[in-house]
Amino acid sequence: MVCSWGGYTFIINLIPMHVLLCIVTGRYSSRLYIAYAPLVILGTLLAALVPVVGFNAVLTSEHFASFLVFIILHVVAFVYYIKGLLTPRLFKMAMTLVITVGLAVCFAVVAILVALVASSPTKGWSGRSLSLLDPTYASKYIPIIASVSEHQPPTWPSYFMDINVLAFLVPAGIISCFLPLSDASSFMVLYLVTAVYFSGVMVRLMLVLAPAACILSGIALSSAFDVLTRSMKFQLSKLFDDGPAIGNGSPNGPSASMVNTSSSKNEKTEKSEAAPKEKPSKKNRKKDREVTESASVKPKKEKRLSVLPLEASIVGTLLLIALGGFYVVHCVWAAAEAYSAPSIVLTSRSREGLHVFDDFREAYAWLSHNTDVDDKVASWWDYGYQTTAMANRTVIVDNNTWNNTHIATVGTAMSSPEKAAWEIFDSLDVKYVLVVFGGLVGYPSDDINKFLWMVRIGGGEFPHIKEPDYLRDGQYRVDAQATPTMLNCLMYKLCYYRFVETDGKGFDRVRGYEIGKKHFKLTHFEEVFTTHHWMVRIYKLKPQKNRIRGKLKKSKSSSKTSSTLAAGRKKNPWQ
């Protein structure tokens, strides 16, 4: 888990929370101890083996909850152990002793922790965790986290799109978890509540919510089916029972008989009193089933209160099955449309049929076959892994965001004027610059729309990039009202180079307006490849002007013509 995803901190905090809940609600048992204590120790040791975690497993605040609960658990276990050993009077005495000592130790530990934690600026929490706990944190301090679209808070439609009917079944599931509340079901409730909160902070944590929602709706459906089928069974068996009774020529059914129903009546009332108490418990339900299976007349009456009419239960069952069926259909659709369609190959449906936009792979294939193996490619970090994998070229920044200085460097280069950008890229030994441009076909997630993050992240590290320089009335614009800084930055130039010649006006279909600066030339970059729909444009850094040779000639000629004094004065660096 730790190896795969940083989201393990969710689990490592959720489990202690559950343990704490169990202790507080008096559900402590040796099983809990056996389950939890080894988990903390082994889990921490194993987590510390993962390179990126290392000593963070014992140093950061994300992990403290588990240790704290670990201590509490031991105290509680000790108390229970003492309780078993001593007489009640002695126990009380010991209790006070232990509590005072325990409290003192706890306070000491907590004080040390607080002191340690308070000494670090983020209170020991990593930025990622903080942005979860405080949803506004990332947008204030860590633009790189806020820049990722999957780190935005989700919208309501996305909830319905993703979990659909589960959204309605989950509350029902919670209710059935409380009837009765067991260790397991309390964990489920806790899991769900935290997952809902986190999914509300970031879209991508919908991933955490999904299993919780699935399990709880499963519980809800199962108990609903349980009630419905049980009542169906009861009603059916009554029907069958009645059938032969009438066939035997007995004048009345049991319910209609007025004579001497004493015993059964008594039973009925009694059982029906007992029924509501028994009904919810799982044990009794199981028993009920067994008893109904034994097909006697009496036990059925126990269920009287929880019995629904036959028609209603059949309709209810069918409706639930239909609901499940539609959900499957929805899931298949969502999986096919929203999740399976690779974002690298885009399709659009038109009257002539499916149109495929395979520009990304076109560009990557070009890079991989027609550039030198050692050439480095600079692009915004979103395309880093893709370029590495598909084009087999070294990139300057990729989707690993542990260190964001280099991302800021590329962001700075993209938002600098051409010459400054060329210098930055040249210092990074970059040969090619790749930009994604959707203005021709209307592909909205292109680099111009991501540009604000380049400015923000770049500005975070290099203060000479100032966001207000790029903003007109608080907005990023590339039309006639755009600021000169914006219209002169590299990103603008690389995206819109010769764009105006396509339609004569330079109408950007994503932004929906004509671009601000239409005719310009590139001096330090040259276009080497643009894909079929212009979605990916690749530029090559022009080689540095050969000034040295010019100097050499000049110095030679000067030395020829003028005296040796002049030659001595102008020192040739290559001599």
């Binding site: 007995s250 001497n260 039973e267 009694e270 396509t502």
Partner: protein, 612 residues
């Protein structure tokens, strides 16, 4: 670049003059017509010769001379000979490289052996088809996107031959378009896109008169640096062909920018030297065709098929300009019966050698024929020399591996698209080896599972834990039996209940009594059955956990029995005494409650037991 060649040619001429006397003078070429086709990047020269034996001795070999510089690019040479005046009865003549003595080393000689020697005065019509690759040199070598591609062709206006040539002509077909320059001699004509030299008369042997044609050729210079063709035979009915291409545009290199804007707005003016698609002609019944590269499927391809052929038009991911390259893979399946036949106990594969692409030059072609596992006596017959060796390929469920016959040939052109045969022996029973292996494997797995379930794997038969487990199993079995008995008891109780019901409906006290008697007897019997089980549980040391519960159960059940019986008796009594229903209810009310409570307890105990 053209100048050194010309120098070489001149040098050659001098040398040739020196050796002219050494040439065989017995043969005379009375007429030589050469047709050079320069429309694609593969140069084809068809030379029609009329050879006359002017000497006295019969001649069985005709020598064909090429400058080394051409011979190096020669991809294929074929000669067809017809003796006498009759046309159409031509036969292919075998050709081999010879090194006759006393000839200049700058020339390479091929000799066409005649089927029967040419006697004095006889005339032979000899058609020689020669195909050259890399013969057209792009000049300039680097062009921009807007330029069209210019190439240089160099040859001699005189037919280079060790024999004197009486009359000869040369015609060069150009692809149309601009002709930058051409060498002009006396009778040189350029009509439309055909350049004509000659006729020249009475040219001595080894005469070489260099010409240079510089012209525009924008036909795709598709060169496959390497093509690996894998032909895999499956006797289940499929021949699978997979072709891995590494294609490069072999023409003038692109320099400067590539502008998509120019390419899209004026594709014929800007980007005329590039090519964007290739056409493959696949066999008629090709199926499951795919086209992909290492990063996935390429969606730009079209397929047409009719009963004669399947035509696949593939577009690489990007248009190829000079020097650009790309790789891709195409694959298709073919029906087995169209390509694999059997003759005299052997099977043979009969399939074309080269690539199905049109006008493509393959610098290195590797054909791998993967035969099914268990093939023996592999033998190949190819229409031209190839490098051959054998490999082994392991695929799914292979034990010995599949024998792979590898053929390698450099510079393959469409003319090499001939059939070749691979003979091998294969027994059909070998087909069943893999399915049988799977069946046996699964069978053994299941047998192992069954055996495992039925064997006792405990190490020591005397260890306390093992004994305890045995005892516990025993106890569980007994407890189950006891449960069954109690279930029966409860059923008997239910019967009593129903008899009471019947009583309340019918008032038949006698039958009710009888029912009670029967129930009593049954219960006694059950109690008897219970006894030995009971004792066995009691004696077992493992039962300490459930023993109190069992005891409880038995006691409770006994009580319940008594209570039921008592109530039954009361009810029957009161019915016999014709008491009112209300009274009866009052009398048994207290009993009723106890019975219900007991029953519940018994049931919960049973529940507890069943959970163990």
């Amino acid at each position: 670049m053209a100048t050194p060649l010309r120098l070489a040619a001149l040098l050659l001429l001098v040398l040739v003059a020196a050796f002219a006397s050494a040439a065989r003078a017995d043969l005379v070429i009375s007429r030589a017509d050469r047709k050079v086709d320069l429309t694609s990047h593969i140069v084809r020269v068809l030379t029609s010769l009329k050879v006359e034996n002017a000497g006295s001795e019969p001649v069985s070999k005709v020598l064909l001379a090429f400058p080394n510089i051409q011979a190096k690019n020669l991809a294929a040479i074929r000669a067809f000979g017809t003796e006498g005046k009759v046309k159409g009865l031509s036969s292919i003549l075998p050709i081999e490289v010879v090194e006759p003595s006393g000839v200049p080393p700058e020339l390479t000689f091929f000799s066409a052996s005649l089927h029967k020697p040419l006697t004095k005065g006889k005339i032979l019509h000899l058609d020689v088809l020669t195909v050259f690759t890399h013969f057209l040199q792009p000049f300039p070598e680097e062009i921009t996107q807007a330029d069209s591609q210019l190439v240089v062709f160099q040859d001699s206006s005189h037919y280079l031959s060790p024999y004197p040539v009486k009359v000869q002509t040369l015609s060069i077909r150009l692809p149309g378009g601009r002709v930058e320059s051409y060498t002009k001699y006396g009778n040189t004509k350029l009509v439309d896109s055909e350049l004509k030299y000659g006729p020249y008369e009475d040219v001595p042997p080894f005469s070489y008169n260099p010409i240079i044609v510089h012209f525009e050729n924008n036909n795709p210079f598709a060169v496959a640096k390497e093509l690996i063709r894998e032909v895999e035979i499956s006797h289940w009915g499929n021949v699978q062909i997979t072709e891995h291409y590494n294609i490069v545009h072999g023409g003038a290199r692109l320099k400067g920018e590539f502008s998509r804007l120019d390419y899209q707005s004026r594709p014929y003016a800007r980007g005329v030297s590039s090519f964007r698609h290739l056409i493959a002609r696949l066999p008629a019944r090709a199926h499951s065709i795919y086209y992909r590269d290492e990063i996935g499927n390429i969606s730009t391809s079209h397929l047409w098929s009719d009963s004669k052929k399947t035509q696949l038009e593939i577009e690489p991911r990007f248009p190829l300009f000079g020097g650009w390259q790309t790789t891709f893979t195409i694959g298709y399946g073919l029906p087995l019966q169209d390509f694999v036949f059997s003759a005299d106990g052997k099977r043979f594969l009969n399939i074309t050698f080269g690539s199905p692409m049109e006008e493509i030059l393959i610098e290195k072609l590797i054909v791998k024929v993967v035969l099914p596992e268990g093939s023996k006596d592999i033998d190949v017959s190819a229409p031209f020399p190839t490098n051959q060796w054998q490999e082994v390929k392991y695929s799914h469920l292979d034990i010995a591996g599949r024998p792979v016959l590898v053929l390698e040939k450099p510079d393959v052109i469409p003319e090499h698209n001939l059939h070749f045969q691979v003979y091998y022996k294969f027994n059909n029973i070998s087909l069943l080896i893999e399915p049988m292996m799977l069946i046996t494997g699964f069978f053994l797995l299941f047998v192992a599972c069954i055996a495992y379930m039925h064997t006792d794997m405990s190490i020591s038969k005397n260890s306390p834990s093992y004994l305890a487990k045995l005892q516990w199993d025993e106890v569980q079995a007994t407890v189950q039996q006891i449960q069954g008995i109690f279930g029966q008891c409860l059923a008997v109780h239910d019967k009593l209940e129903t008899s009471l019901h019947d009583l309340s409906r019918t008032g038949d006290a006698k039958s009710c009594k009888a029912a009670r008697k029967a129930a009593d007897a049954q219960l006694k019997e059950l109690a008897k059955e219970l006894k030995p089980l009971w004792l066995s549980v009691q004696s077992s040391p493992q039962s300490y956990q459930i023993w109190p519960k069992l005891e409880d159960l038995v006691a409770k059940e006994k009580e319940l029995q008594e209570k039921l019986m008592a109530r039954h008796a009361t009810v029957v009594d009161s019915v016999e005494k014709k008491q009112r229903g209300q009274d009866i209810e009052n009398r048994i009310a207290s009993q009723q409650q106890k019975i219900a409570a007991l029953r519940q307890e018994v049931e919960s105990l049973l529940e507890y037991l069943s959970e163990i």
